[in-house]
């Protein structure tokens, strides 16, 4: 049964399978295992980034398409939910409408960009997506009347998902294993459930005939076209699917934060983070997204403490304290990134599976 749930794409390494299982259990029971606002927040972020990175893996790892527009789609989904909640009022229906419209808009935009790429080389495509994504980010911060500009939008989510909503008072006295039964808990499980479903959907996509053809195209597009597959259609479809899932991940993120802003959803920094996660985790594996996102988010939150410890230890020496300053964690991630590309081109997952 697990085979069919995972669409036949087993971890193929005992170690990897074990790690994935541990991560799954930790995320599934995070509010109970690691109670506390910060830890649950970390867990929610991991869930969302797993989906975001996995959708990027579909494009990059399986499709071989380099695009820098991914955060744009993430943002579209997030802003979709925010705008619909602001204008249609709080409620599950605005969430669904916002997420749905966001996904559709993202897919439509991906379609336009994808069709345009017919006329230009692959390298142009990468640069064009970079330019377009930056332009959109700038535009969003500028039309502040609609989008709230630099400050972003705060909005209200349905009452049932808010911390004030309590349930289970009669059954469990309002608490289960010391954790308050409130809307925040429900929100977490909405995020977790949604992410899990999206993740499994991506697994299904890459292990379907469509996914196989996509990989064939990645390896040798001439040959694929010669055999009879319209390469363009497959690539454009992959771009649209990837964009739609990214938008849905963005919607989940917006629901969790109850806030959207250009810096949380559209910044180039997030795009670079996605790249780091997908490469370190392992391109073309989907599971790599799980490993990459977990490592990254944990590092982002907790590595900085380690680094500030190192920094104070090297106090008084030239340069070293700044090198180890917790704000410079991106520097070390960059080094790790380059080392990954050279020595672990298949990422953590590839290594664990015994590939070079």
């Amino acid at each position: 049964m697990i085979r069919s749930l995972l669409s036949g794409d087993m971890p193929r390494s005992k170690f990897l399978g074990a790690i994935l299982l541990v991560i799954l259990i930790c995320l599934a029971f995070a509010p109970f295992l690691f109670p506390g606002v910060r830890t649950v927040d970390t867990a929610a972020r991991i869930c969302i980034f797993v989906v975001l990175v996995a959708s990027y893996d579909l494009l990059l790892g399986y499709g071989g398409i380099v695009s820098f527009a991914h955060t744009m789609f993430f943002g579209i989904g997030a802003y979709g939910v925010a705008l619909s909640s602001t204008h249609l009022g709080r409620g599950f229906d605005s969430l669904i409408i916002g997420a749905g419209l966001g996904a559709i808009l993202a897919a439509a935009l991906a379609l336009v960009i994808g069709l345009f790429s017919l006329r230009v080389r692959a390298i142009f495509f990468a640069m064009i997506t970079l330019a377009v994504a930056s332009a959109v980010a700038v535009l969003v911060s500028q039309i502040s009347s609609v989008t709230g500009g630099e400050d972003g939008l705060t909005f209200k989510i349905p009452r049932e998902l808010g911390p004030a909503f309590k349930f289970g008072k009669d059954l469990f006295g309002g608490e289960l294993l010391g954790v308050k039964l409130n809307g925040k808990l429900l929100t977490y499980y909405l995020i977790f459930g949604g992410s899990l479903i999206l993740f499994l959907t991506l697994l299904r996509i890459v292990n379907s005939p469509f996914g196989r053809v996509l990989q064939a195209i990645r390896e040798n597009d001439f040959r694929a076209e010669a055999i009879g597959y319209r390469v363009v259609i497959y690539r454009v479809t992959a771009t649209c699917l990837s964009a739609a899932v990214a938008a849905l991940a963005g919607s989940l993120y917006a629901i969790w934060l109850r806030y959207v802003g250009p810096d949380t959803t559209l910044s180039m920094e997030i795009m670079i983070d996605i790249l780091l996660m997908v490469v370190i985790g392992g391109m073309g594996t989907i599971y790599g997204a799980v490993i990459g996102a977990t490592l990254f988010v944990l590092a982002q939150n907790y590595l900085q403490n380690l680094m500030s410890g190192l920094s104070s230890m090297t106090e008084g020496l030239p340069i070293l304290p700044e090198l180890f300053s917790p704000d410079r964690w991106l520097l070390w991630l960059g080094v790790l990134f380059i080392l990954s590309v050279y020595f672990f081109p298949t990422g953590v997952v590839g290594r664990l599976r015994g590939q070079r």
């Binding site: 990468a126 930056s134 332009a135 500028q142 039309i143 300053s325 704000d327 991630l333 380059i338 590309v341």
Partner: protein, 343 residues
């Protein structure tokens, strides 16, 4: 010999359109200037904006020219090019600030000397950095575009962070040297002196590059290498040395561009290279990868458009350049002056 008649071909009469076609990209620049005049309407403002646009265009050209040559010649994508811009700016401006005595003096000679020192320092630093970058980061991934994009982005991140380590995270504000401050007035129009200098420098760099590429043997080797690297090697030239040389030259030019960009904005930040990259990419794409002339024209168009739109409707400035890129790619999908490979 042969009994076939003497070869005497008749040529079709070339239409005006055919004869104009190779010059079309260059004619776009004055065309845009005219369109800008129609949009802006006020002659004084138009003049200021045009000079501003040309100045910005020249600086973008200087920064972008290295990137387009490297890609055309070596088939290498360097997403880390912006790092050279940032480093050049920081090194150059640091030298300039250290020479405060010279920049504060009201003497054109001393000021220019200080700027020259800053530029030389910046170009030396970025040339060295370029050599190291090519060796360590780029060389291992020749031929693999995906890996190139990834590692050069990684290199960019590291370079930016190192700038912050060495110079701190704050933006550094400063003022231009005394004689380069202020503006010249032509009737109603005020044109900043520095911008005129920038236009001049840009023209000199363009002319120098054209000279080297067209009239020197090394330029020939580079142009031939862009078309057919294999054949150049078969003629006995060590292509790898040429590659490294072009990469270093491109990095040095980016450093020069960085210093100029910094002086233009009177502030430098670790992310400035990254910000310039968007416009640089647009320019390289619309110019045609590998073409210095295309890059020049593209840069001027982008600079002019950016300034005109910023005056008329500031929010649309960056989007307008995207629109320009789309329009040009629709017209010529390989860029305005594409370099034809091999055959």
């Amino acid at each position: 010999m042969t009994v076939a008649p003497e070869h005497a071909p008749t040529m079709a009469r070339t239409t005006l359109r055919d004869r104009l076609a190779p010059y079309a990209p260059f004619l776009l620049v004055p065309a845009l200037a005219v369109a800008g005049f129609l949009a802006v309407q006020n002659p004084a403002s138009w003049l200021t904006l045009t000079v501003s646009g040309l100045a910005m265009g020249m600086m973008i050209f200087i920064m972008a020219s290295g990137l387009t040559l490297v890609f055309g010649l070596m088939d290498v994508i360097n997403f880390g090019h912006g790092a050279f811009v940032s480093v050049g700016a920081f090194v150059g401006i640091s030298v300039l600030l250290a020479l405060g005595q010279m920049t504060g003096a009201p003497s054109l000679g001393l000021n220019l000397l200080a700027v020259l020192a800053a530029v030389l320092a910046a170009m030396t630093a970025t040339a060295t950095m370029g050599w190291a970058f090519e060796r360590v980061i780029v060389k291992p991934v020749y031929g693999n575009h995906l890996s190139q994009i990834l590692v050069t982005m990684g290199g960019l991140i590291i370079a930016e962070q190192l700038i912050i380590v060495l110079w701190g995270p704050e933006e550094i504000y400063f003022t231009r040297p005394e004689t380069l401050k202020g503006a010249l007035t032509f009737g109603d129009a005020a044109i900043e002196k520095y911008r005129l200098v920038a236009v001049g420098v840009g023209l000199v760099v363009f002319a120098a590059m054209r000279f080297v590429l067209r009239r020197t043997k090394i330029g020939l080797i580079v142009r031939a290498g862009v078309q057919n690297g294999e054949m150049v090697a078969a003629l006995g030239y060590r292509l790898r040395l040429v590659f490294v040389g072009v990469f270093i030259a491109g990095s040095a030019l980016a450093g020069l561009g960085g210093v100029m960009w910094g002086l233009y904005q009177e502030v430098i930040t670790a992310h400035m290279g990254n910000q310039a990259m968007i416009l640089i990419f647009i320019v390289v794409i619309i110019g045609g990868l590998g073409s210095v002339e295309g890059c020049f024209v593209g840069a001027l168009l982008v600079g002019l458009l950016q300034n005109y739109i910023a005056f008329v409707e500031p929010k649309l400035a960056l989007i307008s350049n995207i629109a320009l890129m789309v329009a040009i790619l629709m017209w010529r999908p390989m860029g305005m002056i594409p370099v034809v490979k091999a055959k």
